[in-house]
């Protein structure tokens, strides 16, 4: 069962070299309060797993600008000039991962799988150094699961059992990342009584949730 904490308490759990799987896409559905607390804590040498590096002043882009990352696995860096600068200078090591592959590799870790077989990236630089497996005459790239220490995600509402519902396109990677961390910390708009959320409408069951931070108004 989850415990309710503050964003600062969440940030204090994160140590240098922690691997963070962070929800959100172009800062929509990003756990902004937790990200701000990590910026305030100044923890460095972090590894980030996220779809996009967002903008310099929104979403995970703030961690880039504050020089808190030593490495990252992302799909899209085009909206953040600073991460491009840090990639060029060698300050940050970035593995670019196709977006669908990134999701499956994170999901695999949470689901107890060692990896996935995907055709995405065949015949491109993505397959370099990876095992190609032929099944029934078709080639696939063996893509290993991506482990993370902490999943930092954003949901619309939680109930007191930790069950989560999301809002519109702010759902994006959040339900996947929710399963992908050894410890999952969720930022929500509000916590409602158990029973208030329709059990048929729950997207992420509370069993995946360790800590909840209520977004500050």
């Amino acid at each position: 069962m989850f415990k309710q904490i503050t964003a600062a308490e969440a940030a204090a759990m994160i140590q240098p070299h922690s691997r963070l799987a962070i929800g959100g896409f172009l800062a929509v559905g990003a756990p902004e309060g937790i990200i701000d607390a990590i910026v305030a804590a100044g923890t460095r040498d972090l590894h980030m797993i996220v779809i996009a590096s967002d903008w310099e002043d929104r979403g995970v882009g703030k961690l880039v600008v504050n020089h808190q990352l030593k490495s990252a696995q992302v799909s899209h860096t085009g909206t953040n000039r600073e991460i491009q600068n840090q990639m060029n200078s060698g300050e940050i090591q970035v593995e670019l991962v196709p977006q669908g592959t990134l999701m499956e590799r994170c999901r695999a870790f949470g689901m107890g799988l060692g990896g996935v077989l995907t055709p995405t990236g065949l015949g491109t630089v993505v397959e370099e150094g990876k095992q190609i497996i032929n099944l029934d005459g078709k080639d696939y790239i063996l893509e290993p699961a991506i482990p993370s220490d902490f999943a930092l995600i954003c949901a619309h509402k939680a109930d007191k059992s930790g069950n989560l519902v999301f809002r519109k396109t702010a759902r994006n990677s959040n339900p996947i990342m929710a399963m992908a961390g050894k410890i999952t910390i969720v930022e929500v708009d509000e916590i409602v009584e158990s029973g208030e959320l329709d059990p048929e409408a729950i997207v992420t069951p509370g069993v995946f949730v360790d800590y909840i931070v209520v977004k500050e108004a």
């Binding site: 977006q99 015949g123 491109t124």
Partner: protein, 215 residues
């Protein structure tokens, strides 16, 4: 690109779409397609961040911060829309459940190879969802200008930039021409009104097979 050029390419792409098709439009020029769907044809648009059934941009002041498309622009949801997570969204894409994806290109070649995600030493914006889209969609349409800003052909014998996917492009629609990737090579099917076949051949590095029923 001039507005009329964009509109013409968008209108030509729209002709490929049938009632009931599920379609993903890439950022930029491909989005023009949505403005030219013929009356009576209902096409369902996906945005890969997690929605099937996107509607037009909201009126000013009506934007919802939790409603964006894959390009980061504000959108609406049409009746019948569905939201889903990114793994399902890319399962739709990779699993062959999309009828069409339309993408821009830096280069495309006569083998159906596409390069549209990086220029080594210059920009590395990442592939985002492009590799999954080109690998998985039933039909891949490339929409682009025929030549680059320096006048060099973007339709090549072999792509020289890092590939997005190998041998997956079916149709190339440019401001000058419509070309189909066939096992025999690149088939020139249509030439735009203000150009001649010779203009297109001269502006194309790839080998072109001229269709018997060229339009």
């Amino acid at each position: 690109m001039a507005l009329d050029k964009r509109a013409r390419i968008g209108a030509r792409i729209a002709q490929e779409l049938k009632d009931g098709d599920y379609v993903n439009l890439g950022i930029g020029l491909p989005t023009e397609t949505a403005n030219h769907i013929p009356p009576g044809v209902h096409v369902i648009f996906q945005s890969e961040n997690g929605i099937m059934g996107t509607g037009p941009a909201p009126a000013e002041g009506e934007e919802d911060q939790d409603m964006i498309n894959a390009g980061g622009g504000f959108i609406t949801a049409l009746p019948g829309a569905a939201f889903f997570d990114s793994a399902i969204s890319f399962g739709i894409i990779r699993g062959g459940h999309l009828d069409f994806t339309v993408l821009g290109a830096l280069q495309v070649d006569q083998h159906g190879n596409l390069a549209n995600w990086m220029i080594p030493g210059k920009i590395i914006p990442g592939m985002g969802g492009a590799m999954d889209l080109v690998t998985g969609a039933k039909t891949v349409i490339v929409a682009m200008e025929h030549v680059d800003k320096k006048g060099n052909s973007k339709v090549l014998k072999e792509c020289t930039l890092p590939l997005t996917a190998k041998g997956r492009v079916s149709l190339i629609i440019t401001d000058m021409a419509v070309m189909e990737v066939t096992p025999e090579g690149l088939l020139l099917k249509e030439v735009s009104e203000e150009f001649t076949v010779e203009d297109v051949v001269n502006a194309t590095e790839a080998d072109l097979i001229i269709a018997d029923n060229l339009k």
